[in-house]
Symmetry: C2
Subunit: 189 residues, 2 copies
């Protein structure tokens, strides 16, 4: 058993910085209900649990699926030694982001022309983003951290952080990049 309903609800509520009464008001239930659920003294009906979660808001699917928060990785950059080769015979395939908890994406090689730039407006979108430089040099900026990545070095960061890629060199640069694959887009209840 991963987490009790009671524990989950309390985590969710506190993460959103809501008091039992505040959440109750938003959800249209009484504070007693939430108190009793969090003490595990009742097993709420689906309907009432749904009402409560609507006050967050959060879907039932999310509620039962979410995992404990992992501590944020201090640096988004990866050293070569942190990337296992999962390739086979005659194949080279390096897994980046190894060890990142709750990883939802797999990403592989791509090519940047000389001078290519994703733009000064700093990209920012939902999901996760991962990559490794294969050839040339790529300057990657993630939030307030910036770094020139050389071949063999990689990165992993949350795409909601603003970020930007630039090939500052005169030659082509290769890296691997992809968008996040929708992980079990939870049905909206």
């Amino acid at each position: 058993m991963s987490l009790e309903v009671s524990t989950r609800l309390k985590l969710v509520r506190e993460k959103h910085a809501l008091s039992q009464r505040e959440l109750a008001k938003r959800a249209g239930v009484t504070n007693s209900t939430i108190s009793l659920i969090e003490q595990n003294r009742v097993s709420p009906s689906i309907s009432s649990l749904k009402k409560v979660l609507d006050g967050v808001p959060m879907s039932l699917a999310e509620f039962f699926t979410f995992d404990i928060e992992e501590p944020a990785r201090p640096s988004p950059f990866f050293e070569p030694g942190q990337m296992p080769d999962i390739g086979g015979e005659g194949v080279n395939l390096f897994l980046v982001g190894h060890g990142v908890q709750n990883r939802h994406i797999t990403m592989l090689r791509e090519v940047y022309c000389a001078g290519a730039d994703t733009g000064a407006e700093m990209l920012s979108h939902a999901g996760q983003e991962v990559g490794i430089v294969v050839k040339g040099e790529i300057e990657l900026t993630v939030a307030d951290q910036s770094r020139v990545l050389k071949p063999g070095e990689g990165y992993y960061f949350d795409s909601t952080l603003p970020h930007r890629f630039r090939n500052l060199g005169g030659d082509d640069a290769e890296l691997v990049s992809a968008s996040l694959v929708s992980p079990n887009s939870p049905p909206s209840f």
Copy 2:
């Protein structure tokens, strides 16, 4: 709203070819309970819904997360026109498997040396597998279907089907390949 609890339960029960009474017996509840839930005349408590699902067995997370079964794609092979370019400026990045429902992976380029072969024992593992040939020719066998893929052609299939890659040519061949990213491994209740 995706699916009602009532609908979901009925789908699950029927998929497992259980009668209301049979499931009730396994779950340790009465058939009335299941009948009423499936008619949406009650909103079960979490505890009783959990008991019911234990009879399947299925976790609450799975229950609220599962999607409608999609019909299997007739052919695992993709033509070039079916692959949208999601790349940006100075970047080329082709999304394979576009339109495949409930897709859990994103895959990009890789290199096969001349004569490389994943072996005659036919790979078979959990998840999904996708790829596209970039350079050279790769013979891909998936179950009883076999085909030589040329540059610009791709594939998408269920990894539980036995499969094999071979570079029959004398030159390097490039394709992109990756393992499935674990999609939201649901907490076991």
